[in-house]
Subunit: 387 residues, 2 copies
């Protein structure tokens, strides 16, 4: 199988030091040595999430299983859920929420625009039966970053538990779990946490536990009370209900330590700088960004529409076939309309980004667009008027 450089919005090309853990001999997923490794990994994860209050678990499986666990655990019939959506992964929240509750309210925003904080506040003010707000932090399907901190403040004011998909942002974009009043946070290892897929970190605040206790949701693996039970009752031997991927846990511990060694603010700044580089470059080359407002754009994924002379699908195909570079396409209703470039962890570097941009320049030239070498890298034009 031919190898491609992964510039898709996750999974990403990983550092060989991380991959090396994956092929280490297996170790037992119980006993004192294992519990030390597991606990240390959880501790590092709490630091990356900036939480002292939340319980954190490592759930084997994809991010979606942790999303389902969050919903299943707190969807009771005594209260309503408010789901915000402005993309494919927001819609997945809607799908899952409706499968577990008959009392789901959906607040939709246009794909490519951020969720509307005022609308959330108005909805919570009007309907005091809403006990949880469910949203995506970084909407990977469009490249939109939703205003998590602001929505967290609103939820706190109205006593709603905030449930957040942070799959494409944790480790790349600022998140302050406790200070931003997050109730349940869900992530996955294969994006900015710089590991292969296979574990879904899930964090649960004390306020979220209260709602979970009242809700008494269904299921075993997908019920967070099962995870709490094993952490409490089997804590010094087997603090989780199932067999764990031990190599991936070792890889994750290594990555988390790397992330903390880089420094969280430095890391967020790096992702900001690289996102600016990509957005500016695509504008320089005449592409229209799918997220028009820079302040609403994710720093880990950039989406743009096809060029007048180069449809998105043709660009994706040429990058793959001529340059062995994989970038993402549009999902569902954006299929064929946009392309998406991931810049996460090791791919949020000039090493990964600049060759991709130069390849895009080549491809544009090959279809007759006048592009000078390095045009994508030029500084942005001075902003006219107040910024």
């Amino acid at each position: 199988m031919r190898r491609y450089r992964l510039r898709i919005p996750g999974p990403i090309d990983l550092e060989p030091e991380v991959l090396a853990y994956m092929s280490a001999p297996l170790i037992a997923h119980y006993g004192q040595e294992w519990v030390e490794l597991y606990t240390e990994t959880i501790t590092l994860l709490k630091r990356v999430w900036q939480t002292r209050e939340a319980d954190v678990f490592l759930m084997p499986g994809p991010g979606s299983i942790a999303m389902e666990a969050a919903i299943a655990s707190l969807a009771g019939d005594t209260h309503k859920l408010l789901v915000l959506t402005n993309g494919f992964f927001g819609d997945r929240w809607v799908t899952i929420a409706r499968l577990y509750s008959s009392r789901v309210i959906v607040l939709e925003s246009a794909w490519g625009r951020a969720c509307d904080v005022d609308a959330v506040e108005q909805t919570l003010k009007r309907d005091r039966e809403i006990k949880a707000v469910i949203m995506v932090h970084g909407e990977t399907s469009t490249g939109v970053l939703n205003p998590l901190k602001e929505i967290g403040e609103v939820c706190d004011r109205y006593g709603a538990v905030l449930v957040v998909d942070m799959i494409s942002t944790l480790g790349g974009i600022e998140i302050a779990f406790d200070d931003w009043h997050i109730g349940i946070g869900v992530s996955a290892t294969q994006k900015c946490l710089e590991c292969p897929p296979g574990l879904a970190p899930i964090g649960v605040s004390p306020r979220a536990w209260e709602l979970i206790e009242r809700s008494k949701g269904p299921g075993w693996y997908i019920n967070l009370r099962t995870w709490q039970h094993f952490a409490r009752e089997w804590g010094d031997w087997h603090p989780h209900p199932v067999t764990m991927p031990t190599g991936l846990t070792q890889a994750l511990r290594f990555s988390l330590q790397n992330i903390l060694d880089e420094g969280l603010p430095q890391r967020w700044a790096r992702h900001t700088a690289m996102a600016r580089l990509v957005r500016n470059a695509l504008k320089n080359l005449g592409f229209e960004l799918f997220v028009p407002n820079d302040r609403e754009a994710m720093n880990t994924v950039t989406a743009a529409k096809g060029h007048a002379r180069l449809p998105a699908a043709a660009l994706i195909r040429a990058l793959k076939e001529k340059y062995q570079i994989l970038i993402g396409g549009g999902i569902e209703k954006l299929s064929g309309q946009i392309f998406r470039i991931g810049h996460m962890g090791p791919t949020a570097t000039r090493d990964a980004i600049v060759p991709t941009l130069l390849a895009i320049e080549d491809i544009l030239r090959s279809v007759g667009v006048a592009v000078e070498p390095g045009q994508s890298l030029r500084a942005p034009a001075p902003v006219m008027g107040p910024e």
Copy 2:
């Protein structure tokens, strides 16, 4: 972290060729190349399961998530579920079944003895509302092999869908999915499939689909209809609902091909021979096997009680500390009473077993039991009377 040889009942020590796939660069989990790899892996898995009729999926996560998916998908309130249990993992089926259905009947057998086929038949005959029978094939907590083929025949006669945990048997002990009338089979990669944990194969027969369609169970990831939808609608691009662990899928394909190259009958015979070696050895050394009847014993896990002079916990500790060999202990009500040796795939070999047996001989001698070197390996005493 000190490295131990894993002679526990899974995960097991793996071949370096398998581990090498785990540290290969990631590939995208969608697109033509990926679908070819995924489809080929499923095809090999069907051959190991001996099925032409079942749909097979690879569910990221532990075996338990596939167990939960099986139950969630077919537990409706219009029918009853019959759960057979004779151990810790049978009890897990009971726990999960009761979380999804209020109409669960439990048929218990003693831990260490096989499920009673006649009792299953009598129960199905008496209660025609039972539409599914749920059981464990190899009960890893005790080393009992339940009579799957016979129960399959009974289920077929009474029109019940048979749901089976084959986590510790698939790839080591004979299973004929179609011929034995299996409805849903659940497994995991970290036992006889000779891979790290992280994927749960699940097979679904046409008859099981009928019950699933009628049941309309809850959930998204845990509902098999979601998996069917993606396989059908996204089959040539992304035939599964979530991100897949691509390295593990490559490792699994490699292992499955190895398993088929060895030959299924040859492989079952190897596990039979190695189980006999272990059982005979433990008897030679004066241990009492936890499964008294050879015909009810698993060929992939052997459990025995502590020796008069050497409690199970002391044996486990000495093997770990003095010989760097990890074997399993008893779970829950068997805690401290038994020890368990896994002999699965690469550990179902004399290379893995004989040094373990010789270490046990040493440890017995060290506590004053008279054991001659190699006593464990002696041939069994001739059987008196008709075998």
